[in-house]
Symmetry: C2
Subunit: 501 residues, 2 copies
């Protein structure tokens, strides 16, 4: 059985159970068995993380940045086995997706985080010498990271965006591996451990657990030793953990679910309908729809233009081979979402069923619903199908557009496609409403493809995330999630941190 | 009965009850009767606030800043009746405290917020033209503000720091008046209403409710129309409201309780013991101890030096006349805290009883406890006595100092007094530990006196506040509590807000 990495060494887990990951393309189980940890592993990891917090206070200022760079270098030199492992475990394409896109993105994030840590600008240092005050952001303590299934590298709990941001802000990380890709997480964790050891960093800086029973996870996030939690995953798991963390008073940053509505105005479809139908279908099918920013809802005009547009999407969906999904659970989840949408009044246009067992796959699925029906039960009809599924909402009445936009739950993104002067008024009205509902507002662009840029916001109002003021992608802003505002009052400058002198 | 101010006009409340405020110096009831609002008042206010959100989108960029300035001017020209009313309702000194300190501070905050709103720098605008991305902070929707009893002006729900920050960030405010000073709140609300009307701002921009039953308050903060909540008050009320807001996913910024420990090292007492005893006593007694930053705990060395120091504090406490407290509830709360501390093992050195009924007063109270006892039940012995009360913790063993610091709950402030080279090591160790426990670390300075400066942090780890990354005092940082991160992707610069072009 795989050991856990706690307090700077690989040791036998206090296992209350075990699991093997199933390879989604074949249904085979992984060779290695992974432990589900009992509380004593968490307890020991928390103690080691607290010790690391203390030891980091006397580390040199650039030590964590050096670690992030060294780790990125190691990942680069093991790129092939890591991407191969991730491909085996997720069925995502080895090339270009994993090897050429996601892996460089992951090392890029680590290096960017290192550079942000060195610069200190992220701390927003503010000095008022006349008042004897100096303040800025510092670390807040051990950060627990729960990574998602859909980015085995760039959001991995021990290598991804939350990990990089938490470490760069000066905090130790306790990583909870996603059970769908433990082999990949193990390869990464080994490199992180080597890099940390080589640089003489505290053993509690990076720690890895493979599995937790639900109750243990809740206890972990509500432990007073925890500084904050980063979570990317399902709404159900996110809300349960959030409740526990909220009760304990620890900041809980969750990215949970999002339908990412796209509004297609008349003028856009009249001029570029065929092209936009392809864009939408491609965006829904990218990564087999397993993106947080997958557009699950398209709003379009009633009438021949809208019908032709929908047919264009359906055609492309029908032609696309059902891609292998991340796991059986994902396939079951899409099927469940599809049934719930049908129960709420949507009709299946194409797809709507699993494909090709034993591999985990689902047919690209388009559903439709009339605006009136959508507005009668907007929450049920915003059920997120995490996978290749989209709902077309057909709006006949002009006033329906605005009402649909008003009914959208907090979402990561919202898009408006427009193409002619006659669209201007509706574009502006929808943009204003969506601005309040979403973190990122797009014009004439699909929401998939989250550029790693300081100006990115991969966040949004609840329930897309747990706080509308923070982003999970985009340095240095993402680091401020894992930070505490520190003020020094009448403290001699030489006793303040270097960046506040 | 006083009317409520909803949707731009004074109207009869949907009253489910009424109250009169008691004047703490005499026990007399106020002339005006104030309504406790039922849900329909909240519902109407929320609708009007949402309408205001929409209308504000097309207001000129400087309109809210103009409002804040105009409001400050009106407060200034009514300074005398406002300060007189506040003095009557709180028993705080009319002069200098209310008229010369708190009122100018209040108008200063409003003007500073206006200036921050005009500058846009608080939004942290970030533009990446190559990626077509632009982002920064914008408003997040209606903000509900619950003000505390102890700052009838500077933290007033319709004029104080949370109000100014929320409006300056572009949000409407629903102010819930503190029931201990409704007359003062009414005077302020009338001026706010006049200023908003004169400038033609939406009626839902500023709204005022006088009282809410507990269940109605919980329903209000968990309503999906609410963007965020600012709360200053007791831990019990704060935690109950926080739970409701957390469940609904709305950011809840609470400043709840804090014992503000002060560590007095040997060398400081040897050189300046008499002076520091006076400083500590004065800090505890300032505002009759009714400050969030009142130092409720002093840690001092066992032996003659510490005993003499304690005697110095007790002497000053005994000489001080018992000041009138904000209300009977405050006096009862101090008495309750005193009893709980005694039950947990502390001994009363002086004070420990109410004084001079019918006015609400309590004798300045010093308690003491040995370190060993403190460490056996540190949570009970950190019971906050909101009033003129302090606990001296006597540390004999060198290692006790560090253990006491480690046992401190999240607090707004932590202070270390030192005076000789022999203190250096302990000063540094305590400072490092306190750094993790408190928002503002002080050296050789008492924590009362919260300078209004951009470098101030009036915040701290849970349970002092509900999020360690934010401050309630200090513009523009305090505005970012009431903000949402807004990103524009592929949006033509002319369709972005002016500050992102």
């Amino acid at each position: 059985m795989q050991s856990v990495y706690i307090a700077g060494r690989w040791r036998d887990a206090d296992a209350v159970g075990t699991y093997r990951a199933l390879r989604p393309a074949t249904g085979e189980a992984s060779e290695v068995q992974y432990p589900v940890s009992g509380w004593s592993d968490c307890d020991r990891a928390l103690d080691a993380a607290c010790e690391a917090v203390v030891r980091l206070e006397s580390c040199e200022s650039g030590a964590l940045a050096d670690f992030l760079d060294a780790y990125a270098t190691r990942i680069n030199s093991h790129a092939v086995p890591i991407a191969e492992s991730a491909a085996r475990e997720t069925a995502l394409p080895y090339k270009p997706r994993l090897l050429d896109v996601e892996l460089p993105r992951t090392t890029g994030q680590l290096r960017e985080a290192a550079s942000a840590a060195r610069m200190h600008a992220w701390r927003l240092p503010t000095i008022d010498e006349r008042a004897g005050l100096a303040s800025g952001f510092g670390p807040l303590g051990p950060v627990v990271v729960f990574g998602p299934n859909n980015f085995p590298l760039a959001f991995n709990s021990v290598a991804g965006g939350d990990f990089a941001a938490a470490i760069a802000a000066g905090n130790p990380v306790i990583a909870k591996a996603h059970p769908d890709h433990p082999d990949t997480t193990r390869l990464l964790a080994e490199l992180a451990a080597e890099a940390a050891e080589e640089l003489g960093l505290p053993g509690g800086l990076v720690q890895v657990l493979w599995g937790l029973e639900n109750g243990t996870g809740l206890r972990l996030v509500s432990d007073p030793r925890v500084g904050a939690i980063g979570f990317t995953g399902s709404r159900a798991a996110g809300l349960a953990l959030k409740r526990a963390a909220d009760e304990a008073g620890a900041p809980f940053y969750a990215e949970m679910s999002s339908v990412n509505p796209v509004f297609f105005l008349q003028g856009a479809l009249a001029r570029r309908g065929t092209d936009i139908a392809e864009q939408f279908a491609d965006s829904v099918l990218l990564g087999a729809g397993q993106f947080c920013t997958c557009p699950n809802i398209g709003v379009l005009p009633a009438g021949p233009l809208g019908e032709r547009f929908m047919e264009g999407i359906a055609d492309r969906f029908r032609m696309a081979p059902p891609a292998t999904l991340l796991s059986d659970r994902v396939a079951a989840g899409v099927d469940d979402a599809c049934k719930r949408l049908v129960n709420a009044g949507a009709a299946v246009v194409c797809g709507g069923s699993p494909a090709d067992a034993p591999r985990s796959a689902y047919r690209p699925t388009l559903l439709r619903v009339e605006a009136e029906r959508f507005l009668a039960d907007p929450l049920a009809l915003q059920t997120e199908g995490f996978g290749p599924l989209a709902l077309a909402v057909v709006a006949a009445e002009p006033r329906d557009w605005a009402r649909i936009a008003e009914a959208i739950e907090g979402s990561l993104t919202g898009s408006v496609y427009f193409g002619a002067a006659e669209d201007d008024e509706l574009r502006d009205a929808l943009s204003r409403t969506l601005r309040r509902r979403v973190g990122r507002l797009l014009h004439n662009k699909m929401p998939t493809g989250v550029a790693v840029s300081p100006a990115m916001n991969h966040g949004g109002p609840f329930p897309a995330t747990s706080h509308p003021g923070f982003t999970a992608v985009g340095l240095p802003a993402s680091m401020r999630r894992f930070a505490k505002l520190d003020c020094y009052d009448n403290v001699d400058p030489i006793r303040r941190p270097v960046w506040l002198r």
